[in-house]
Symmetry: C2
Subunit: 332 residues, 2 copies
């Protein structure tokens, strides 16, 4: 199935985003947790969509965003995820392939429609997400291109996969194949509520099955049931080979078992418009630097740069030439 | 069918835009006329889409953009146009209804999919459009809500409707109903190539059936087969009660049978990002002022303001609070 070997393969929920501007009153009326991701059923998605303002549709999905950006930087990347054979599924497929990503997962022919994430953007640039998972949770271990995984330097998984049993099985099988081939497994914790739903399993994963961990401050503190970020840093240092912990405008902290934590600043942004995809872009920049063997601080700063690009506009995928950004950084 | 009477009803091709950034080399390789609209068949649309970069989907359609913006300014508006009963058709319906527009045209149940316009944006902010008309040309006179038209102050039609016979019939019937009720008919000339395809019919329309004409410089000079804008101005002054002629950064000229032409400046824009929808927004602002009985110069400047909003971001529909913009202008 797979063509040339890739540096990284991402596996995640294949989702089309529907982005719309709103205000806090709307979030309160709909009882939505600002800044988080809530899973909703199709009927709820339709009801919420009806109440939302005009939107714009763009390919999304956490791991898919990371992988598309990694490819846009000039890396070789593959993606595994399930869409339906419908118009939005075609949009997803087009966009990720047009980013230069190998994507060959067969679409779901019968069953629910392609997953949609209703993203409400408030004037403070925060995004609040409601996801109808649809076709994407029909991903199964048989969808895995095991040859692609075994050949990839890193297999990148998103925590959101843990929300449904078949996707979770797929997650575990992918990690198994990667490790059996002597390759690395990376995990993004995705969302603090997702962490709370699956804390014990995530702790087990982090301690025994994950080589590179991505989390923001609220996710990592949720994982270790603490309010203290420093405490979480020292916990993760014990448990994980490498962890990149993001803290919005405070930048990130890179924690490795064998060295002192590295503090990385955020990159400057003229105006923060929409934070959708910030964490995903950070992971892309970090992993790109990591694949090229850059020092950890430089990996983190590539993450900061990619995150700064995506929060300056609406939508979770890059709109500028990331390859040029990376080259400029290397030259600078 | 219709609920409360509207100030304006728009009739046009109901289209979802697929916007993507590209460069001039790509346009040349695809032999596309920069800045214009080319009609393409489904197979061509699929082939071109495959070659395009990642996109974003947003509701479009020339008259639909105008009507959505008119409603966003606080006007009462209706729209008539044909989508298919598919995902992109639902996107179109949601967005125009969420803008506050009455839209009750029944979707096409069997037949081609919802129309799509592939919009290629070059670094100079120009947009080059390739349209697969799909379901939208299945609009028929029976789709007209004649009561809504008879009650509306203005019926706004787009020249693009002339590209297919059934849509043209629908266009003519709508104008007939509006005039029979003593109301105004407005027309946008849409595109210079469209004008060249239908010059004789458009001349007849402008002379005998249109009260308010919208055209940009290349469209109005194409209509009168001249290179001289001034010449076109004097021609249209003879033929049409009121014409608003736009000239990009040079602003617009408003020509009426009974008075001297009014010169209106363009509104300032920090950075022109994507000119998609500029003409549509101008018409919205102008018609909003006209519905409120504002002086012609003020109508034109509302057009300039709305156009300035839309060219500062990607996509053909407004993303700021146009009602606030209009109020500020009134106060200022």
């Amino acid at each position: 199935m797979s063509k040339e070997p890739v540096d990284i393969v991402g596996i995640g929920n294949a989702i089309v985003d529907v982005l719309s501007k709103t205000d806090d009153t709307f979030l309160q009326a709909e009882r939505l947790n600002k800044g988080s991701m809530t899973l909703i059923e199709e009927a709820q998605a339709e009801a919420l969509y009806k109440k939302m303002g005009p939107g714009m549709e763009m390919s999304g999905g956490s791991a898919a965003n990371t992988i598309a950006a990694f490819a846009a930087m000039g890396g070789r990347a593959g993606y595994i995820g399930k869409v339906s054979n419908d118009q939005l599924g075609n949009v997803f497929r087009h966009d990720i392939c047009a980013s230069g990503v190998q994507f060959t997962t067969a679409p779901l022919e019968d069953g629910p429609s392609t997953a949609r994430c209703l993203i409400l953007i408030t004037p403070d640039a925060q995004r609040t997400m409601c996801t109808y998972l649809g076709a994407c949770v029909w991903i199964a271990p048989s969808d895995l291109d095991e040859q692609m995984i075994a050949n990839a330097g890193v297999t990148y998984l998103e925590g959101y996969l843990f929300d449904r049993p078949r996707a979770k099985q797929t997650f575990r099988r992918a990690a198994e194949v990667a490790h059996a081939a002597g390759k690395k497994v990376a995990l993004s914790l995705s969302d603090s509520f997702c962490v709370e739903r699956h804390r014990e399993e995530f702790l087990d994963l982090v301690e025994h099955h994950v080589d590179i961990l991505f989390a923001n401050e609220s996710e990592i503190t949720a994982l270790y049931k603490t309010d203290d970020f420093e405490h979480a840093v020292w916990q993760v240092k014990e448990h994980c080979e490498l962890a990149a912990l993001t803290r919005s405008e405070k930048g990130s902290v890179i924690v490795s078992k064998t060295a002192e934590p590295v503090i990385v600043p955020a990159a400057p942004v003229a105006q923060v418009v929409d934070t959708t995809g910030a964490g995903d872009m950070y992971a892309a920049g970090f992993l790109f630097g990591h694949a090229r063997g850059f020092p950890l601080g430089e990996c983190g700063y590539l993450g900061s740069l990619a995150a700064a690009e995506v929060i300056a506009h609406v939508g979770a995928r890059p709109q500028s030439d990331l390859a040029a950004l990376v080259k400029m950084r290397k030259a600078g």
